[in-house]
């Protein structure tokens, strides 16, 4: 059992009472996972940044509605997913942004190898259907349990399980095809 100085639910209660420091603590804890979530959902760095801001803004606005029945991360990623869907509706040009992403990252010489790997993974994830990608990103990068993913995506746990399996199998195929291409 992980010891935490302050649980997320308690922080939310403090935010409801107007405690700004509690909000800052939540921002510190979840900004990076959220940024990764949007990045691997195929958003550019700029879009990911905007969407993280949007999620925290929505969290701030609706924090009075939060009741600690469900786990906080489930509540947060439900907001994140809605923000992402809204973003997709607004901007249909979200696919295939490899060049833009590469240009968005500072100091390409320093991080070239790591960056190539990240863009490679992001592009591979981009080849998955959105259904499979959502499950995989929530499971791997957000470390949500199957039950929590089922709640965020409003699908049965069995579907989460099968989508997760399919996502990994498809990724294996994508990466092995690339390796063959590189070898040839």
């Amino acid at each position: 059992m992980e010891l935490r100085p302050c649980s997320d639910s308690l922080l939310m209660q403090q935010i409801q009472q107007g405690n700004q420091q509690a909000f800052i603590a939540l921002v510190h804890k979840y900004q990076h996972p959220l940024y990764n979530f949007f990045w691997f959902m195929n958003c550019s760095p700029t879009e990911s940044e905007d969407l993280v801001q949007e999620v925290f803004l929505r969290l701030f606005r609706c924090c009075a509605n939060y009741r600690p029945k469900a786990k906080f991360s489930t509540f947060l990623y439900t907001i994140a997913r809605r923000a992402w869907i809204d973003h997709l509706r607004k901007d249909q040009r979200h696919r295939h942004r490899k060049l833009e992403q590469a240009n968005d990252i500072a100091d390409p010489n320093e991080y070239q190898l790591a960056l190539e790997n990240k863009i490679d993974v992001q592009n591979a994830l981009g080849q998955l259907s959105e259904k499979l990608r959502s499950v995989l990103v929530l499971a791997i990068y957000q470390q949500l349990k199957y039950q929590e993913i089922a709640e965020v995506l409003a699908i049965p746990v069995g579907t989460v399980k099968s989508r997760m399996y399919l996502a990994l199998r498809q990724l294996q195929e994508i990466f092995s095809e690339r390796n063959i291409e590189q070898t040839v």
């Binding site: 940044e49 701030f60 990994l168």
Partner: protein, 422 residues
């Protein structure tokens, strides 16, 4: 489940297991995952699939992206401060009395906030979440448990079983013993590991074979036994003879220039020599005699080979060399070398490297204990490789260059040692 019903599977009877493997690897603990575990013990084909999926998950985890520097400030700036004071967070009050109490409390909270709370922006250098030492301690404990659980019956830690090369089993066992000693791990596990090492020593004092695993096995095993000897008086007597023989062997293998080399190599090699020198230095600190000459010759060689060169310096080689020199270093370009180390460690590693991370974090702690910024950055990178759930829980992902030789045992040992150094 309907989405997978039409897909072909590798083998009859493995269908349910295949779908359950990702959940099993991610630490899901339903009845199906438990049945999957039983199936995996019997089915080599599914085990192979599990290895491949774990490898894929490890690689996916590696691709985690860095946070933009100013994101926190931008998020906080998106919420104007006045919204905190104007906002009604609590649901509507049902009674006049309740409303009155709420108003009074709100004033009290606002008043307290006004006087006590700093502005929403954070001071420079405080952007990262506070370091959690309890979390590190829990991760180290879990990693030590993983090592203890995966010790072989003969007391060794198998290199081959965990993705490494068989010839390094002695070195990996030495490293595991070393890290268990440094962290007061299970005494029984440590004792079995030490017994295994002693059983591998030849009459000439060499651990393993001169052609198999080279001096890596020998230097690391010697260092582990020296640490064991320093920690247990009861064991020290029994270890004196094998340690003396091992040290003599190290001295006998030192080249005239001061370094050590692989059996088939034609010149001394820095990383290999660092382990022999560490063993000699530890032995000297424990009162073993006649080591002044081999140590001083070895350190002089390191200084000439590593510290004098300014182009193409390997950071871990420099850090390791400086660690061996300790307080003795008195070098004309010491300042430049230290600056170089700090600069190299201040940026994110382009490719992850446990070996590099250990030496650099240990060195940074010594040379710049007050400046935590670089070490926090390294720690954040390190922690991404920790397996927090699933069957490999407690171990560390073997994803760097050296993992091809040392596998998961190497990754876990160096991760523990590095985490301890923060």
């Amino acid at each position: 489940m309907s989405e997978i019903s039409n897909k072909p599977f590798d083998a009859l009877g493995c269908e349910n297991c295949a779908v359950t493997i990702p959940g099993y690897l991610l630490g899901e603990i339903s009845a199906q995952e438990k049945r999957c575990r039983q199936h995996l013990q019997k089915c080599a084909q599914c085990r192979e699939q599990m290895w491949q999926m774990q490898q894929l998950i490890d690689n996916l985890n590696q691709a985690e992206v860095e946070l933009p520097n100013d994101l926190t400030a931008n998020i906080l700036a998106a919420i104007p401060k006045r919204q905190w004071t104007n906002r009604k967070f609590v649901a509507s009050q049902r009674s006049w009395l309740g409303a009155a109490v709420a108003v009074l409390l709100s004033f009290a909270v606002l008043w307290l906030n006004y006087w006590r709370q700093p502005p929403l922006s954070l001071p420079p250098g405080k952007e990262s979440f506070p370091d959690n030492k309890h979390r590190s301690a829990r991760i180290i404990a879990a990693s030590l448990r993983w090592l203890a659980t995966n010790q072989e019956n003969d007391g060794s830690w198998s290199a081959e079983k965990w993705g490494g090369e068989k010839k390094y089993t002695i070195a990996l066992t030495g490293l595991a013993v070393l890290v268990l000693l440094e962290n007061h791990g299970d005494a029984g596990v440590r004792a079995r590991g030490i017994d295994y090492l002693l059983n591998q020593q030849s009459p000439q004092g060499l651990f393993g074979s001169s052609e198999n695993g080279d001096l890596y096995n020998h230097g690391i095993a010697t260092l582990a036994l020296l640490k064991a000897s320093s920690q247990s008086r009861s064991r020290a007597k029994a270890l004196t003879k094998p340690i003396t023989a091992a040290i003599s062997y190290i001295c006998s293998q030192q080249n005239a220039c001061g370094g050590w080399q692989h059996s088939l190599a034609d010149q001394s090699e820095v990383s290999l020599s660092l382990w022999q020198l560490q063993a000699l230095l530890e032995a000297a600190s424990q009162g073993h005699r006649h080591l002044d000459v081999p140590i001083s010759v070895g350190l002089a060689w390191l200084q000439r080979t590593v510290l004098d060169l300014e182009i193409g310096l390997g950071t871990s080689a420099i850090a390791g060399s400086l660690l061996c020199h300790g307080n003795r270093i008195d070098h004309h370009n010491r300042r430049e070398v230290l600056e170089h180390l700090k600069n190299r460690s201040s940026s994110r590693l382009p490719v992850w490297d446990y070996y590099h991370c250990f030496f650099i974090s240990t060195m940074l702690r010594r040379i710049d204990a007050d400046n935590n910024h670089n070490r926090i950055s390294l720690k954040q990178q390190l922690l991404r490789n920790y397996i927090a759930r699933g069957p490999y829980q407690g171990s560390w992902a073997p994803i760097d260059h050296w993992s091809k030789a040392g596998g998961r045992i190497y990754a876990t040992v160096f991760a523990i040692r590095t985490l301890k150094s923060f």
